[in-house]
């Protein structure tokens, strides 16, 4: 009797889920609005989160999100703690050596945020000053590359913005959607901060990162991305989270 019950339940589970469906765990550092951040219900939301869901739907897999601090996020990927990272990861040559990327899905540039009363127009003008960025991001690398600027690395971009807000540093460099979020959207920050410039470091593309050599997951993700792009879902999401 007992045995038959178990069989019935198992059969039901097998029938209810398509045989090919699998669950991918995707890591995000939910401190990067509007791309990925926490809402008041402690859920991760944002462009990337919706994007991964759309990709999953198109490619036919289930997805679970995991919130991971940025400066360990690639170590976890390498250690197999999750299948992919979709967290505003700019595709760089350095990173391509350490992991594989899916089809680029989003274009950004680096933006410099400063205090509203500042007259600075370029990063170079901040020579001798301190500029902050999130540790291990292309924004922070850009600051470090600029001669004469003291680069200060933060665990989260929000903490850098807070220091800029309270006047302890003179600028923050990060991806333009996030810069816009702080300098234009968040009421108290927007009153004091502005985007001074978009850096001439060129266009950057976000990619979904998987462990080096994990072709199976990469193919799955790319299949989803192609479908999402073909159907124009990415444009809808952009309108929803970024505006213009």
């Amino acid at each position: 009797m007992m045995k038959r019950c178990v069989w019935v339940v198992l059969a039901a589970i097998l029938l209810a889920t398509p045989a090919w469906a699998r669950t991918l765990v995707v890591a995000q550092d939910a401190t990067w609005p509007p791309m990925e951040f926490m809402n008041e219900q402690k859920e991760i939301i944002g462009f990337d989160t919706d994007y991964v869901r759309a990709v999953a739907k198109e490619a036919g897999f289930d997805v679970v999100f995991k919130n991971v601090a940025w400066d360990g996020i690639f170590a976890g990927l390498d250690a197999g703690q999750y299948d992919a990272v979709c967290s505003s990861v700019t595709i760089t040559d350095e990173r391509k050596k350490a992991m594989d990327f899916g089809i680029p899905y989003f274009k950004v540039r680096q933006a410099l945020v400063v205090s509203k009363d500042s007259t600075v127009k370029t990063l170079e003008e901040l020579k001798g000053k301190t500029v902050g960025g999130q540790i291990g991001t292309t924004g922070y690398f850009a600051i470090k590359k600029t001669e004469g600027i003291t680069a200060k690395s933060y665990d989260e971009i929000g903490l850098a913005m807070e220091d800029l807000f309270s006047g302890r540093i003179d600028g923050v460099v990060c991806d333009d959607p996030t810069a816009a979020q702080y300098a234009l959207q968040k009421a108290d920050y927007a009153a004091r901060l502005k985007i001074a410039a978009v850096l001439d470091t060129g266009d950057e593309y976000y990619g979904i990162a998987v462990k080096k050599g994990n072709k199976e997951v990469l193919d799955l993700i790319n299949k989803g991305i192609e479908a999402v792009q073909a159907k124009g879902i990415d444009k809808e999401l952009r309108a929803k989270w970024i505006g213009q």
Binding site: A75, D78, A160, D163
Partner: protein
């Protein structure tokens, strides 16, 4: 009055005389850490030498925070310890409340609080905030050590000094504290070492200490294993050196013991 024992906190083991010898734990750890680090750097300069070269300014910051925090924490601890045994109820209450409050709040939270929460009112530079938070936290711990150390001195010492005409303050500085140091130093030494290790928490304030430098390096090059190995070894070496210094100092303070 019998001698009171003082609780030992989570510092590192301070080498004692009985541990001396070629195979003491201290020697094994120190030599081991040094040899491993040297081998890594010599045989695998990429990335180990690169990592080591990336750290020095961070190590300097770690030392700076440690030294300033130790100085202020000792002063604060002394004041707190004296306050805790003060006959003046107001001073006593202030000191005791300080100890209770600080001991009840995790250091990490104190760091965040002083830097980010109070940052909206007083804009302290990151180093200053870090040193203040570390000093406040360890001042409270050390206050308890000082109090216990002072109370461990025989009441007869106080009476002898008072009967000669020393007032309470003079008695404290000429008679009680010079003796209390001996009892106080081992646990205070442990606090020094715990403090040094806890300075790694200040990297959370974006202070570019050794740990943050390491994290920056690792997050750019993805050499997590290599970087954190070096960081751990360097911390271990520094901590062992500090504990050696404390034990030498202890020896020195035992000059008047029974032969």
């Amino acid at each position: 009055m019998e001698k009171k024992t003082i609780d030992v906190s989570d510092g590192a083991a301070i080498p004692r005389k009985k541990d001396a010898g070629l195979f003491s734990a201290w020697r094994i750890s120190f030599a081991g850490a040094l040899i491993i680090l040297l081998c890594l750097v010599v045989f695998e300069p990429d990335p180990y030498l690169k990592i080591l070269k990336f750290l020095p300014d961070g190590i300097l910051i770690t030392f700076e925070v440690t030294i300033f925090a130790i100085i202020f924490a000792v002063l604060l601890g002394l004041l707190t310890g004296l306050g805790r045994i003060s006959k003046n109820p107001f001073i006593n209450a202030v000191a005791s409340t300080y100890v209770e409050v600080v001991r009840g709040i995790p250091l990490l939270v104190q760091l965040f609080y002083i830097y980010y929460a109070l940052g909206r009112f007083v804009r302290l530079p990151d180093m200053v905030a870090a040193i203040i938070a570390m000093s406040l936290c360890y001042g409270a711990y050390m206050g308890e050590v000082f109090r216990a150390g002072i109370e461990s001195i025989d009441k007869g010492q106080m009476e002898a000094a008072r009967s000669l005409g020393f007032n309470r303050t003079q008695t404290m500085f000429y008679v009680i504290l010079p003796q209390a140091w001996r009892t106080i130093l081992p646990p205070v030494g442990n606090e020094f070492i715990a403090l040094l290790k806890d300075t790694s928490l200040v990297s959370i304030l974006a202070v570019a200490d050794m740990l943050r430098r390491g994290r920056e390096f690792a997050s750019e090059t993805f050499t997590y294993f290599e970087t954190y190995t070096v960081i751990a070894l360097v911390y271990l070496l520094i901590t062992l050196l500090l504990s050696k210094m404390v034990s030498i100092l202890e020896e020195k303070l035992n000059y008047y013991d029974q032969s």
